[in-house]
Symmetry: C2
Subunit: 274 residues, 2 copies
């Protein structure tokens, strides 16, 4: 019997999606795999991202998942289409949910998107948005400093503000956006800092929250909801350093979620061979 | 070729869903049927609501719709399950999307729901919410004055405030809600009045906006998006007085949406016979 939702990410960013899944779908068991050993995916080639993503998917398929959440924008941008075509379970990425939420929120049809180089280079958000609503004006900006900063645990304070101010300055200068999509699952961790820099008049869309919500919709459509009223134990895996992954998990999940998680080291086939 | 999204409602309330569908999915053609001749559905029996709803569905199926949106909370509460079981096109109601959005927004797990007598009596929102997240506290209140008030065009001003204040007083007294679901598609028309009465600290969820967004998700899952970049002409039908329906449509749609709509009188099989 297929019971769990599989979640993959290039590292710890997808933990913000996992946290939202736990909050919005507390009866659903998660199996999470973060490829922290090879993070970040943002600057990598399309081929490399596809290969790494498929290795993660194979790891989770062996654990008999009922649905796959690609909780990494770069992996979504480059592999969602082929995953949807080739897997016989429902697959959701983080891009479409963020795009749909932005379309719902914007009133002036000007949307900003920030993400990694890979995500911005792929035009995945611009395409997702404009395929649905052609008249949208979309301004996308790559923020290569944000992921390394978050991975170092710098989430607020003067240094964080300075990096965010400097990075977003061009976007704020040329865009009339009323809605900004956080097109990287690391960014919700610095959402407050970003909001303080851009001002309260711009609505921030967290692709993590929105993806959790659409996961709920898709489980509903496919009648895959877990009906049991038992709170699950989630299995988390990292390809990288276990201690660092546990530390970051603690900062994201806090109680009561942390006590519902086991964290182990994962050995992917490709990594074992090399 | 199936091209349009079918939308049914007991009257004009579903026009708020139609408006959101046009705004969020501007490439999709709508065929709307409002059963204004037999509105309101709120006080009717389950059997009557089911019969009327199926008569509307039959009318739209003859027009070859690719998806059905049940834009009436009462009809959703009583017929969604059988429609999903018996139709071979995707069906969405207004209750699940509102419930999912409320779960996303609430931080204290206290959710309020207002709707018609029928919707509240059915416990449809409470069930939808607690099936996903058992620990939610849900307080539902029937507001039988709101639909007749909206149908009379009283949307703001001292009379509207007085009715809303008197009606919501018990809910505000016993509920600690941080999120309130407008569980009736008429209510978005008095959203500003409701917000002024309950205060800015409570997030209002419009099931209309949320249903349009989930319609987008479901079209995506089933690969039913219209890819053509041509703006459609929407066909609207009413079983009741054509002039009144046109007047209310004008107040909801304004430009540029109104010029993309044709409005005609509908004759349902059952109504023709009686």
């Amino acid at each position: 019997m297929k019971q769990a939702i599989g979640v993959i990410d290039s590292g710890v960013g997808g933990l913000t999606v996992a946290h939202e899944l736990m909050r919005q779908l507390p009866k659903e068991k998660l199996i999470y795999l973060g490829d922290t050993a090879r993070c970040p995916y943002g600057p990598r080639s399309k081929e490399e991202v596809k290969q790494f993503t498929w290795e993660m998917v194979d790891f989770l398929l062996e654990k008999n998942i009922k649905m796959l959440v690609v909780a990494c924008n770069t992996a979504t941008a480059f592999t969602l289409k082929s995953l949807k075509e080739e897997l016989d379970i429902p697959v959701i990425g983080v891009i479409q949910p963020g795009a749909r939420a932005a379309i719902k929120f914007t009133r002036n049809n000007h949307i900003g998107v920030i993400g990694t180089e890979g995500t911005v280079r792929s035009h995945a958000y611009t395409n997702a948005l404009r395929n649905i609503k052609s008249e949208l004006e979309v301004n996308a900006l790559a923020c290569p400093m944000f992921v390394p900063m978050v991975e170092q645990g710098i989430l607020e304070g003067s240094q964080a503000i300075e990096v965010v101010e400097d990075t977003l300055a061009p976007l704020l200068q040329y865009s009339n956006m009323d809605t900004l999509i956080l097109g990287c699952t690391h960014y919700p961790l610095i959402k407050d800092t970003i909001q303080s820099v851009i001002g309260q008049h711009i609505t921030i869309i967290s692709s993590s929250e929105e993806t959790a919500r659409e996961t709920s919709t898709i489980l509903d459509v496919h009648q895959l909801f877990n009906k049991d009223d038992i709170y699950p134990v989630h299995q988390f895996y990292t390809t990288g350093d276990l201690e660092i992954f546990i530390e970051i998990s603690k900062s994201i999940f806090k109680e009561p979620y942390l006590q519902m998680v086991t964290i182990e080291k994962a050995y992917l086939h490709q990594l074992q061979d090399s």
